[in-house]
């Protein structure tokens, strides 16, 4: 690899569809303590780790390289889910959040509130990534189909909430009028009608 070529992590994070990922610091990956328990989950663990850290290996065949590339993505994702819960990781994710890299809430009344990626499972290959909106406290599928196939375990179930505990200033104050009231020709629909509201509780908040 030539000197000017960006390293594996940079290439991975800058690929289109990978906007949600932040760059994990090399020192974090090089510290064995941070990788405890990952080797049984990832095939070709050592080779994948070398690939992420740009340590060259010559003896690989073409097919092997492809397998190792996918292992490296899995390994990087799992390291990423650990890294983003650390202080530096949170800081990096905060700058991505402010940048709007994760997109906005699809709910109209949330007024384009910024969202954060959130998994529903911590084990890989179980569920895809979702987005958590701090305004309506709800979970949405990514609006862009690029982001739909990303594994939710690469962000983990905890990150979104650790993030808002660490940066409470991003929790924008909700206003109570943020409730959609269905109307027919300007008239509200009676609660007792068959078509009356049954999910109002979901979008109302105390106070």
């Amino acid at each position: 690899m030539s000197k000017d070529e960006p390293n594996w992590i940079t290439r991975f994070c800058e690929a289109s569809g990978h906007e949600y990922f932040c760059k994990v610091r090399k020192e974090f990956i090089e510290d064995e303590n941070n990788l405890v328990g990952l080797s049984p989950i990832v095939n070709y663990y050592n080779e994948a780790l070398d690939l992420i850290l740009d340590i060259e290996r010559d003896e690989l065949k073409k097919e092997e390289k492809e397998i190792i590339q996918s292992s490296a993505i899995l390994l990087y994702g799992l390291i990423h889910s650990r890294y983003i819960n650390t202080t530096t990781g949170l800081r990096e994710m905060a700058s991505k959040y402010e940048n709007g890299d994760f997109g906005t809430c699809p709910r109209f009344l949330c007024n384009n509130a910024l969202v954060v990626p959130c998994g529903r499972r911590n084990r890989p290959e179980r569920d895809v990534v979702k987005l958590f909106c701090p305004r309506c406290l709800d979970l949405y599928s990514p609006q862009n189909s690029f982001h739909e196939p990303i594994d939710g375990a690469f962000f983990g179930t905890n990150f979104a909430h650790v993030f808002f505990e660490a940066y409470p200033q991003y929790l924008n104050t909700r206003n109570i009028n943020e409730l959609y009231i269905p109307k027919v020709f300007g008239f509200r629909i009676n609660e007792y009608s068959k078509n009356g509201s049954r999910a109002k509780w979901l979008r109302t908040f105390p106070g």
Binding site: L137, Y140, V162, Y180, V184, K200, W201
Partner: protein, 226 residues
């Protein structure tokens, strides 16, 4: 109009409905458009009303206009079609057509994870044209969302109107999905523990839900007695 001819569509409406980004619109019955009574008041809203009307109904001699003029006319025709559409879809015939589209999922699915891909319905925020673009109503969580595709974000909400989805559900109550349960709400957790503030909100919401359920049950019991 040259555009229609080049794409091989015989009628303007056919061309319009097959244009990318117009998937939300249904075909308005000819009889509905041709009945002038249904178009009351629209001439004040649409520039070049008569020509736009002729274009929609394929009665316009398009060769007599240059490119610039036909572009303007095209815009007027689309606007007129949209406004007639808003009126048409709340009629019995229109509702039937829209129910078909709804069942096919032409309007997309709810982005909310716990709505389980509920089909959406288009809705306007206001009935005044050129103000707010179209939004999508989910009848499971009873909330409105931005369309997923940017193509649909530029469609005027007034082409569907504020009443349409509610009118449809009023006419077809069987299409309304069963009410959301507690399990269909996202519960944020850190290492398996609920978050204090959010758990408080959820408890409050549960109380609201239970209060409503008992209100509805009491109403039902009252009705049975009578």
């Amino acid at each position: 109009m040259s555009e229609t001819d080049s794409e091989g569509y015989k009628y303007w409406v056919e061309w319009f409905l097959n244009t990318k980004g117009n998937e939300f619109f249904c075909e308005i019955d000819d009889e509905y458009i041709l009945d002038r009574f249904n178009l009351t008041g629209l001439h004040a809203e649409v520039a070049h009303y008569q020509q736009a009307f002729d274009l929609i109904t394929d009665q316009l001699d398009e060769d007599s206009f240059d490119d610039e003029q036909s572009k303007i006319l095209d815009r007027s025709a689309k606007h007129l079609y949209g406004l007639i559409h808003a009126r048409f879809i709340i009629t019995t015939r229109g509702l039937i057509k829209m129910v078909e589209k709804y069942k096919r999922g032409d309007f997309g699915r709810c982005p909310r994870v716990y709505c389980n891909q509920q089909n959406l319905l288009p809705v306007g925020i206001t009935d005044v044209p050129n103000e707010v673009s179209v939004k999508l109503y989910c009848c499971r969580c009873e909330d409105i969302y931005h369309p997923k595709s940017s193509r649909h974000c530029s469609i005027d909400g007034a082409y569907f109107g504020t009443s349409f989805p509610h009118m449809l559900l009023q006419a077809y109550p069987s299409l309304k999905p069963p009410p959301l349960t507690e399990a269909q709400r996202y519960v944020p957790k850190i290492f398996g523990f609920k978050i204090h503030n959010i758990a408080n909100v959820h408890r409050w919401q549960d109380a609201q839900r239970k209060a409503q359920a008992s209100r509805l049950a009491a109403y039902e019991a009252e009705n049975k007695k009578n």
